[in-house]
Point group: C2
Chain length 213, copies 2
């Protein structure tokens, strides 16, 4: 196997060319308005399954982009996802990223109530007093908690990026969000991850940057 | 799709049960001594491909575990991977995690020399004056640079966890490490990621914790 010589600044562009070419070879067509985002999920995972499992609610991309442009904060369910979001791009619009998972009092409250830290973190996020985009790459219980608050009428997320990964309640939790009128981008099935959650945030951020050039 | 009631503390165990069951159903057998690690990669990605693509050099797990136990540091090629490594468990053995990618002078030097930040980061890591486990989940150029230093006789990594993801030189860079006598765990092919790099570190850390109970 030989190394291909690609300049550092051109590696990402070359990667997207390869992804575009292989999607075509596989006969997979992704609607133009969302291809940039699905391709970034594939770029992050080298997994073409994302081409067929990503669900977008009506006008999801337009809604997410408008939220970011108006300074909406992002709340993640892992520090890994927080770490992966391009904070420089988000900050340009006035937004911040939060993750409450590692807060000591979150762990304490979760233990006392017998629920997950992710569920407690969602409740914290619901009290931020501004619209929130949730980027959930790990904990299905985060999505379940958001749905419970929605059902109770106590909180309406501005947007949910729902891509937890795993084997216990992951698929069902994603469907619980899809069944509401919360604007969302969800990767149906078991797959996802903190890396995918961050990649979707960044896809939206780079879309804004690149179309405003 | 119905939610299954699982206590927070039992979700991970239940996930591993499902993975074990499905590996059996697929007729995939993983040698007992490495199953814990391969299953954690699957747990992190919900991708069973990892069952057939993970390469282990001779005695790789024993070597990695002994390095961790003797306080070896870990160097990652992304802040996401750094963020995902269980620092509390690593610190118990005296080890630390480093990532030089976001250092301003690394970016400056990379630009001047026309190489990637990952390559410059590896050179920084080679000067740490102690053995280093590299956990590479993103940049094939990190692996290429490690191989170049190895070929030049200027540096020998103590261990390489080589799981970059992507489309440009990723597969070839992994084979460059496999072809040496550097102890390593490599996920052959395009797949991997910062999440997988962190998961492999954590699999080793939890193995130590759980066998020393």
């Amino acid at each position: 196997m030989e190394l291909e010589y690609v300049l550092p600044g051109e590696i990402e562009g070359r990667s997207f060319e390869i992804i575009t070419k292989e999607l075509k070879e596989k006969g997979i067509e992704i609607p133009e308005d969302r291809a940039f985002l699905v391709k970034r999920a594939i770029h992050t995972t080298a997994d073409f399954d994302y081409a067929s499992t990503m669900y977008f609610s009506d006008n999801a991309i337009e809604i997410a982009i408008n939220l970011i442009k108006s300074g909406t904060d992002i709340v993640t369910d892992t520090n890994m996802a927080l770490s992966g979001v391009n904070k420089k791009e988000l900050f340009k619009h006035g937004g911040e990223v939060h993750c409450f998972m590692a807060d000591e009092d979150v762990a304490k409250e979760a233990k006392e109530r017998g629920i997950t830290r992710a569920a407690v973190s969602m409740e914290r996020a619901s009290k931020l007093q501004k619209p929130v985009i949730f980027a959930i790459g790990n904990a299905p219980t985060a999505l379940i908690n958001l749905r419970e608050m929605y059902d109770a009428g106590s909180f309406m997320p501005a947007f949910v990026i729902g891509v937890p990964v795993g084997f216990v309640n992951v698929e069902a939790a994603k469907e619980l969000i899809i069944a509401t009128d919360i604007p969302c981008i969800i990767n149906r099935g078991r797959k996802g991850g903190s890396n995918v959650a961050a990649a979707i945030c960044n896809a939206l951020l780079y879309r804004i940057r690149d179309t405003e050039k």
